[in-house]
Symmetry: C2
Subunit: 208 residues, 2 copies
DNA sequence: TATATACGGTACTATGGAGTTCCGGATCAA
DNA sequence: TTGATCCGGAACTCCATAGTACCGTATATA
């Protein structure tokens, strides 16, 4: 919700800027970004999608790059809430509990946004870290909690390579969506958990 | 090496087209593609890199899209040779034998090319299938051979989900390079084999 | 009510790159 | 040698889009 637009100075007179529209505009930008990629996206498209004037966009963001950076950064606060993670008592239960229709749609959208900016990322460290914070880190953090809980419970060995285990799910989803262009479903995610992640964590066939 | 350029009709008179330059030009296109992405790449860049004239490129390919499509398709014949796969007698041996410095460089280049065209792929089915054939399928095919051999030997269960197992390695590499922007090394790949792939295939700690 | 600024919308300018044309020189066949 | 076609290179046209300017209108303060 917070963004880095140039909205700090408080002018004294005249009509106030309608900041309630910022999220709508950023959301429109993300839609266009996911559909056409960074270079295919035009400011006119975003303005039209948000039913706003092009000048309005340039009043709030200095450039296309600035708008995209802000839009990507603002995805951080959507989706996974680290304070409300499931806690089912088992590693498998926690991982499965993360599979919900809205969560699948959310991660698919994030990946399409990622697809639209990957080629930029190599040339823009700012965008790279924004994308990492907003698209990669949230899900990795959630997984980290689950695996550390499982270690604390003695459910899996303490010398597990947690960072590597955290990658498996996101890596398989990203590969399926971006490389194979195959949308993921519940069955795919469950099979990843039971067929790859749990065995890699040292757990054999599920008894959950 | 074979490409889809417009080189069929044999003109009768005058100087012949120097087809030995085609691979150099396509290779230059791949370099630029990997460095700047599809939209960042200009025909002038490719021509300059290949020390060729822009007109020469347009004599051979009808458009930028055509050139890129051909360049991507031609990667198919580089890298993995399905007729010369290692056969060490164990699944782990085969997988480890695929890890070689040139192979790592090759797959890193392929992934950077992929990064440069992902956003196009959603809108160009032709490019999508070319990329799949050249960048995704070769490695998956090699892995398929290894897992099927292992099943035939009775080394791993016959009801293994081979397609899913084939994805793990490429998915982890792609995630590391594209999402985490972390180049892979031998240690990373070995850890993936021992920590994820073999356990998922039903093999416990390595005895190889 | 008067003033200042935001709004959505349209018209404009400036820039960069796709694709074309033309050049002098090189290389083939006859 | 000649004529056709290639080559690398440079100069060009054309178009899309980033970014700006201005319109009439809406909404805030004073």
């Amino acid at each position: 919700m917070t963004h880095t637009g140039l909205d700090e100075p408080k002018p004294r007179l005249g009509r106030k800027r309608d900041h309630t529209r910022d999220p709508e505009i950023l959301d429109a930008a993300l839609d266009v970004l996911a559909e056409t990629g960074y270079d295919g996206m035009t400011i006119d498209m975003v303005a039209a999608r948000a039913k706003a004037g092009k000048a309005t966009l340039y009043r709030r963001w200095t450039s296309k790059a600035d708008l995209v950076l802000d839009a990507v950064a603002c995805m951080k606060s959507s989706g996974i809430d680290l304070d409300e993670l499931p806690d089912t008592g088992t590693l498998r239960g926690d991982l499965v509990a993360m599979i919900k229709a809205p969560s699948i749609r959310d991660s698919e959208r994030k990946l399409n946004v990622m697809a639209g900016i990957v080629s930029m990322i190599a040339r823009s460290p700012e965008l790279a870290s924004a994308a990492h914070e907003a698209l990669v880190e949230p899900r990795a953090s959630a997984n980290r909690v689950f695996f550390q809980r499982a270690i604390a419970r003695g459910e899996i060995p303490a010398d597990c390579d947690v960072e590597r285990l955290c990658m498996i799910g996101p890596a398989m989803v990203a590969y399926s969506v971006l490389m194979l262009r195959k949308p993921v479903d519940r069955q795919f995610l469950i099979a990843n958990i039971d067929g790859i992640i749990l065995p890699a964590a040292g757990l054999r066939a599920t008894t959950d």
